[in-house]
Symmetry: C2
Subunit: 773 residues, 2 copies
């Protein structure tokens, strides 16, 4: 949520020069949106643009890179491979450790809180109990929200959409910093302990990615370890791989599902995937599992306070013999259909709520805080108050002695306000941690435990909470709220269907949760494996698959997945896998024509012109064109960052000449070139220097990917996304002397469906249902 | 094996015209290997070239396609989507059913065979028993081998490498035909029932792919269903997707591992992968599992003869409580290291054996048959004779009454030649089906059952059989032989380590099998999930992961995976995922220069020239270049198949003019254009017609992917593979009037490391260890 207002805020105090062609806001028309040399510089001041840069996943093959690469010895290559694996190991290790700490903290904080509340209730001091609980929740939420609002606005929310965008090539600012990491950890502990309807699963994915990113660059921006080996990782490609590792480790840590984690990264998060990546991700998640397992071994001996066996959701139903017949396919299909409908409905409603929240959050930090705290108070009221509505139910005589009723932190039969020998089924579900609530509702062979009335209240409550909680300014995951909602309706359905099927009510709850997840998040294989690893029962696999497939299919009929909706809301220029069908009807040449004419540089360029071009345009890449015997020749593409570097280092020549190899190597290292950013305003060039020359050849990427102007946008987009480009050069298809070979440059923004449609409204007519799937 | 000689045979009776630039044999130098218009046609007669074509995964965006696409209504798009899913369903259904039939047949044939043998042994008619067994095995092998040798040589072997190559863009001829399918089914039943050391797993993958391919094209080449909906699938892209579905269904059917099947396709088989494909594959495997489950339900009631509970390997160890401590990591690591070493050793030895077999098989059909039959006899001798070496062991008194000793088909304690109350442990492993042998050796809580001596004999025997059996002319899978070898050494290691660990010997056997698989096949995630689904015990996951990772890492130090070795042996031009590092030092321009100069056509071309070009070159694509006001302009690329179609349909013009849209549509449909092949010699053009013109514009793919000549080969290869190209046009980087814009065309063969190195030997020096992983 934080993000929305942030983008707008930031835009206003951005300097003109920092704006770039990729940083177009979602709803801005494509045409004439960039400054050209001839344009009026004032025209765009105040235009709303966010500062989102694209990443350079393409290898920048300039002379320096090639030399550097050629001089790399075998030992250095081995160092590189070894450090890749070492980093994968560290990502797994640290993610596992941090997940452990988070789990320990949450279970202990919320455990002691609940114990105190139970004590007040035992003494029938109900009001005091409420005040205590609401107060504790309020304080915990306050800590989480203040941290998020003041120090790291990017830490709010799940973070998964931004990671998805990063791996697609969009660099959301401040997403993977050290502050974000710390705020996310503490904020997540606070928010989950506060009993809010949110999970630690999404935040763990973000935490894993932050760790990966920080490790890859050797520390925070201010305190970096200058380890020589790490310099190989100073590029966007290797960071992308590491962050993929981080996200799968995060999922693995959240659900103790190593295979599920890898598949989640593959199916939902990553845009590019290679076999080698599969393997390295798998290694990271294996490390996470080993860490978690060691930690749980250790806690079994009672060293972890109230942690006990809880904390890591694990609904081990491996002991249950699952029996079902062909007839059972019907209720399973019903669950799937309902899950799909409810899931897409949830997506739609959440979308609306987020829009409203967006307006509130934009009003300032105080509004954000107030919103978060109101939700906290509302949650406390409901969790504490609603159980009074439920009737006390007598304990099953066989259980009477030990496990019913209970007054501790966990337990399946909470006594709450009931007399001895009775329990309150709604309190069992509400007055507990979210993880325990899921465990209780998933519990098997307890077909008479929950009353329909209690389940309905639980379901409705969590539908409301699920909608209003997600958008507040604290770290929040979507998995758990959806699991809670889904399990409630699944169990309800189980009660309704009870007489007709063999499937246990607990399994109905599991299937309900799975169906709602598939209906909202639209994942299949990864969800299936996560549920398999959670339930530890392979016999459930076929029906889980069926439920997931049906729910996803039904959901896809109505709207896109929740992550896509959030991406759209945040205005992140995510590039879809499949081009729209109407993109075949337009060529890249037509697209390049409506953009302002491209600014090219000569191979040996005057310093004055470089400064002028950098000051007056916002492009991040410039074609370098040579003139040889009257014919023009494309030499390559040079990045803005490298031009600024040349100006900063004052690598100027008195005469117009080509430089030698040693001259470049004397001045620049590949580490210099890997640094991003730098602002043209920081550079001072004297008037004398303005008349000097720069040889751009050695710094130019001589092998940019190009397309001919007659290429259809659909195919160009496939190239753009498959190869992971930032700039795509469009070349003339006809050969004529004296004409620049470059028609234009296309970037991510130019290839987005929305932007193309706003420039070519007539394409809308040919819009049809999307092929591809 | 079949394949090697076949390629050579075929080449000799290929007409010159059928040869094409892609069809270069592995060890042929790149330079001047193609005919040019100016070249001597006789020069290449007799050159060894195999007829392997590349596939057109790129969308051929010519005018006709665009019109066809534009006229596609919403209903048709829905039809397309629906039939995609329907086909995925049918692939799953049919694969499941055929797997069922194969399992039933194998279990019954080999079951009755074994029962008869046991009867002879009971009567102490040992020689008669041997004659019966060897005879039956001989006959069964004969059936399988004759079918393979005479009718479908492509059905021999596992088929997985060819599928891998197909999905990479290489069309091995006769790979997915109806004859191949039938021979593969019957041959697989015969070979497995004959007790040969091979599995039905690999063949099932091939069978699944065959089914997918046949369904996609609506039947066999001769008898096709002309269902209108199927015409949408008449392209290489959709067939690729379907065959991916087929291969994952096959793995699923082999191991009853739906998730493992999908991951196998993803990790090992497929080159291109999309999220949508993941989902569709998952659907297919879900269908397979449901079919298998229904069939097993049905068989439980005894309707399936000797099938019983067997047939589908499933080592359900979910009941075992797996306990291990940190100390147990050491033996697990040892298993991994040994697995890696043995696996790569196996790869190396198998490579040598296959080379020898290649020489034998080339000598003719009879030699192939004799080789297969000798292996069969050798196998029979060993399986029957070796158990006599083992000592009889007394049954455990607690088991005496029922399960020890047994004389039936299955059972863990075979009596064989032993007195009552004793069993022969080697006979338990050898005189049984391969599936039962695996089940026996995996069996848990039976630490005293197998003697070290017996296990050593078993291990050595299966090492020998595993090496000599794979290359014979019958359908054979590699999974089972490797599992047998691996489980033997795993169990041996378990006995050695016994006093020091808590891990059961059965689990050692499982881990041994996993490690050898990883050491030889180099898969990780998919193997892990397959083993997870086989053993149905999630607690095994962390140690399985560890074993797989270690074994793969160790194996990778020595040689490539077994499938890559086979691909290389078969000379299939597989394009690797990562370019070699030295490919950065050469540009596509240099590469295009050593090829004969490219043949271009004009947009409106004389019929005579088209015929001449087609007759005198072997290219499959020609750039179409227009001349506009003195400047040349690239219009696109036209395929040989489409040129032949024009000649066949005699779509000629009397004058040099552009045609109208309706003229093309009158003559051609998109179905015509989708057909491949056609031979220029089948076309007769009169002398009068030779002087007429053809307007090539509407049939030209106007949007071919192009690269500028300065592009490095490394980057061009990334483009080629990521986008799935067949032809890549190389353009001039400088602009000059009157020069053809096209420098050359690169194909798959031109980008293969071996071919580049033979043309540019100096690059070899810069060869270093491969980056990328």
């Amino acid at each position: 949520m934080e993000e929305f207002s942030k983008l707008a805020e930031e835009a206003s105090y951005q300097e003109d020069e920092e704006r770039d062609p990729e940083s177009n806001n979602l709803h801005q028309p494509l045409i004439k949106r960039n400054l050209t040399l001839s344009g009026n510089q004032l025209a765009i001041v105040g235009t709303k643009v966010s500062h989102i840069e694209s990443l350079d996943y393409e290898i920048n093959e300039n002379d320096l890179f090639k030399q550097d690469w050629r001089s790399r010895s075998k030992v250095e290559v081995l160092q590189y491979v070894f450090s890749k694996w070492l980093l994968a190991f560290l990502v797994g290790l640290l993610t596992g450790l941090i997940a452990t700490v988070i789990n320990l903290a949450i279970e202990n904080i919320s455990g002691y809180k609940l114990l105190a509340v139970v004590k007040y209730i035992e003494q029938e001091r109900y009001l005091m109990g409420f005040v205590y609980m609401a107060g504790a929740n309020f304080l915990l939420t306050l800590v989480a929200a203040v941290l998020c609002v003041c120090f790291a606005p990017t830490a709010a929310g799940p973070g998964i959409p931004e990671i998805k965008a990063y791996l697609n090539g969009v660099d959301t600012p401040d997403m993977f910093g050290a502050t974000t990491l710390i705020v996310k950890i503490i904020g997540s502990i606070g928010a989950v302990s506060a009993g809010l309807d949110l999970g630690k699963e999404g935040p763990l994915v973000h935490i894993g990615s932050c760790i990966a990113s920080l490790l890859g660059q050797g520390g925070t921006d201010n305190y970096r370890i200058k380890w020589r080996w790490l310099r190989y990782f100073n590029n966007d490609r290797d960071r992308r791989d590491l962050i993929t590792c981080g996200s799968s480790s995060g999922v693995c840590a959240a659900f103790r599902a190593p295979v599920g984690g890898v598949l989640f990264a593959l199916e939902e998060v990553a845009t590019w995937w290679r076999s080698a990546l599969l393997w390295r991700n798998f290694f990271s998640t294996a490390v996470v599992v080993v860490v978690l397992r060691a930690f749980m071994e250790y806690c079994k001996s009672g060293n972890c306070g109230l942690f006990g066996k809880g904390g890591l959701i694990m609904f081990d139903v491996s002991g249950v013999s699952v029996r079902y017949h062909v007839v059972d396919i019907i209720p399973v299909a019903v669950i799937g259909v309902i899950g799909g409908v409810l899931g897409s409905l949830y997506n739609d409603l959440l979308h609306r709520v987020l829009k409203v929240y967006n307006v509130i959050n934009k009003k300032g930090k105080l509004h954000k805080l107030l919103l978060s705290l109101s939700v906290s108070i509302f949650t406390s009221v409901c969790l504490y108050g609603l159980p009074f509505l439920a009737k006390c139910r007598p304990c099953d005589p066989s259980l009477l002695d030990s496990s019913c009723p209970t007054n501790g932190k966990g337990g399946n039969f909470k006594q709450f306000n009931c007399p001895e020998g009775y329990y309150n089924d709604l309190a069992t579900l509400l007055l507990t941690t979210n993880d325990d609530a899921v465990r209780n509702i998933f519990s098997i062979n307890t077909s008479t435990e929950f009353n329909v009335f209690s389940l309905v209240i639980f379901f409705v409550l969590y539908c409301i909470l699920g909608l209003i909680t997600f958008g507040i300014a604290v770290p929040s995951g979507l998995f758990l709220p959806i699991i809670l909602m889904g399990s409630a309706y699944g169990r309800l359905l189980g009660i309704v269907m009870g007489p007709y099927t063999n499937i246990d009510q607990g399994l109905y709850a599991v299937l309900g949760a799975a169906s709602l997840m598939a209906g909202s998040m639209r994942m299949t294989v990864s969800l299936c494996v996560i549920f398999l690893e959670l339930t530890n029962n392979l016999l459930l696999l076929p029906i889980t698959m069926l439920v997931l497939l049906i729910a996803k299919t039904v959901g896809d009929c109505f709207n896109p997945s929740i992550y896509e909706i959030i991406l759209e809301l945040k205005g992140l220029p995510f590039l879809e896998a499949n081009p729209e069908p109407w993109m075949r009807n337009i060529t890249v040449g037509e697209l390049a024509d409506v953009k302002p004419s491209v600014v090219t540089l000569s191979g040996i360029e005057k310093v004055g012109r470089i400064v002028e071009v950098l000051k007056n345009t916002t492009h991040n890449g410039f074609p370098v064109v040579d003139s040889v015997n009257g014919a023009t020749e494309l030499h390559g593409l040079i990045l803005r960052a490298h031009l600024i570097l040349v100006l900063k280092k004052k690598w100027f020549l008195r005469e117009r000449r080509r430089t030698e190899e040693w001259e470049v190597r004397e001045k620049f290292t590949s580490i210099d070139l890997a640094e991003r950013g730098g602002n043209i305003d920081e550079v001072t060039v004297t008037k004398d220097e303005m008349g000097m020359y720069v040889d751009l050849h050695p710094l130019t990427n001589t092998t940019p990917y190009t397309v001919v102007e007659s290429m259809s946008v659909a195919k160009a987009m496939v190239l753009f996304r498959q190869v992971g480009l930032r700039h795509m050069l469009v070349l003339h298809k006809h050969q004529a002397a004296g004409v620049s070979p470059v028609v234009g440059i296309l970037t991510r923004q130019d290839l987005r469906a929305h932007n193309i449609l706003s420039a070519f409204p007539h394409l809308e007519e040919t819009r049809g249902p999307k092929k591809g799937n």
